[in-house]
Amino acid sequence: MNWLSNFIRPRIRAVFKKKDSSQDAWLQCPKCNENIFRKDYVEAQRVCPHCDHHGRIGSQERFDALFDNATYTESELPRAPDDPLKFRDKKKYTDRLKEARAKTQKVDAMAVAQGPIGGIETVVAVQDFAFMGGSMGLAIGAAIVVAAKQAIAENAPMVLFSAAGGARMQEGILSLMQMPKTTVAIDMLRDAGLPYIVVLTDPTTGGVTASYAMLGDINMAEPNALIGFAGPRVIENTIGEKLPEGFQRAEYLRDHGMVDMVVHRRALKETLARTLRLLLNRRATDQSEETRESEDNLTASEQSAAS
């Protein structure tokens, strides 16, 4: 908890005061139903202190926890055209966008920032499930291209956190075309000889998994994250039976060779810093030493999740 309390607390406190003061001081873990003191929960990056359930986390909190001293610069992203197909189901797509923007204070589901991780300047893209289920449309594709180009221009590695049910249906075929588009972006990184690390978080399914989220040089996943191509309900409807326990969870993917490791959120910064350092053939600096120390403070269960 050291680095977390030292570096992040002031920032988290600010967020906490601004956004959470009107909410209850206590909340209930959706998995184990235990009561959690909200402040503890936020400080623990939304991981339940009782059962280690990893709750969903937004891009700002992710950046704060990941970059050294919570220092980073967010990238400006191109504004995608709203509603290119004039899509309407029970609701107009433009209304769904308005609601999502009001709820999240974001323009779309992907944020990109650059800063040091264990002293290594890194471009990080975070997909935010809170914005229309993180769904992949033109804005996501454009953001990933911007992130990849920035990484290439800065000669920096790229880390991407995926979280989405899949493509954004309201953008029809244009959302499907983000699969090849983002794949081109990843390919450009590879041509530039830069690492691309994916952290798959809960949930990552559909066209997102079947493109940029599975193409990492290294794939990491958060504990118990749902990861797959077809959604569990679609599979159940197709085969007409209940799915086995643990199916399509992070640990299942690791056991089936699809991800390199399952990493507890608290060990993520250190794991990323170490992996980048080794990939880029750099040696530990004072900055990375400090994050390494934080690993020593992990509980045994966290260590094993991180291994």
Binding site: A142, G172, T183, A210, G228, I239, H256
Partner: protein, 318 residues
């Protein structure tokens, strides 16, 4: 025996009457022959009229028509010396996707496509054209082969989507599709993709990330099936018609959105009414597409593909 779609009922009735008249006229009954001719003209007129204003949902039905020419028909008519290659060299051979070496109008190519099957037994054998990871990994293997020997790749896309099953997930369906897209995009040989029937989501784009993407007049290409979209957004699959319209999945919509490069006209009444003519026009379109790329070298072909997909939707350039 042609199978008729629900909106083709008036055509079916008329053609039934023509057939009946033909059987009635024993010898050279001029009156009946005259009547048959008139009715045939009317039937043709009706086919043209109905097919000129198909709704997106009706086009979806035509794209899925069981008598529509599929991979094996194209192979038979357009390719010489087709030599099928099997297996992904990891796990097995998935015949929802077929492919191999062949000669196409005087040049060697690698041809790959979904095969839905043509009767109950073969449909089951080909898993209705819904591939598992092995299918996409076989496609990657064949594309790599084409790349090494400088052969153009032709893909014929016709799938409802990748197979959603436990075994497919277990063996990395998402990764297999992602690698197939990646492979398409890295090729230094031409890749021509033709959506000949259904272009269903990731399972289609895995074979369709090409230099030229061509659609048949009554084919569809979509991020999700109209039924799937309706059940998620309308909470009822009965709204599939509305979903089909909203999704903009027709060849005409995709040409307008600049997602596809060309639309191949189908015979009156759809590809299934005149398979030979359909297959011939597909062959001509592929040949023209290959010719249009003949000036580009390997690196330029790859750049051409990258630019195409980076600029879709008009947001980023290379």
């Amino acid at each position: 025996m042609v199978s008729f779609l629900d909106f083709e009922k008036p055509i079916a009735e008329l053609e039934g009457r023509i057939e009946g008249l033909r059987q009635m006229s024993t010898d050279n009954d001029a009156k009946v022959a005259d009547e048959v001719l008139k009715l045939e003209a009317r039937a043709n007129q009706m086919v043209r009229s109905i097919y000129s204003k198909l709704s997106p949902w009706q086009k979806t039905q035509v794209a899925r028509h069981p008598d529509r020419p599929h991979f094996e028909n194209y192979i038979e008519e357009l390719f010489v010396d087709y030599t099928e290659l099997a297996g992904d060299r990891c796990f097995g051979d998935d015949v929802a996707i077929l492919g191999g070496l062949a000669e196409f109008r005087g040049r060697s190519v690698v041809v790959i496509g979904h095969e839905k099957g043509s009767d109950t037994a073969s449909r089951v054998a080909h898993n209705f054209g819904m591939a598992r990871p092995e299918g996409y990994r076989k496609a990657v293997r064949l594309m790599d082969l084409a790349n090494r020997f400088g052969l153009p790749v032709i893909t014929l896309v016709d799938t409802a989507g990748a197979y959603p099953g436990i075994d497919a997930e277990e063996r990395g369906q998402a990764e297999a599709i992602a690698r197939s897209i990646e492979c398409c995009l890295r090729l230094e040989v031409p890749l021509i993709a033709v959506i000949v029937g259904e272009g269903g989501s990731g399972g289609a784009v895995a074979l369709a990330s090409g230099n030229k993407v061509i659609m048949m007049e009554h084919s569809i290409y979509s991020v999700i099936s109209p039924e799937g979209c309706a059940s998620i957004l309308w909470h009822s699959s009965e709204n599939a018609q509305a979903a089909a319209s909203a999704l903009k999945l027709t060849a005409q919509d995709l040409l307008e959105l600049e997602v596809v490069d060309q639309v191949i006209e189908e015979p009156a009444g759809g590809a299934h009414r005149d398979r030979a003519q359909t297959i011939e026009s597909v062959g001509d379109a592929i040949e023209r597409a290959l010719e249009s790329l003949s000036e580009l070298d390997g690196a330029q072909l790859k750049t051409h593909r990258r630019e195409k997909f980076l600029t879709i939707g008009g947001l980023n350039s290379v």
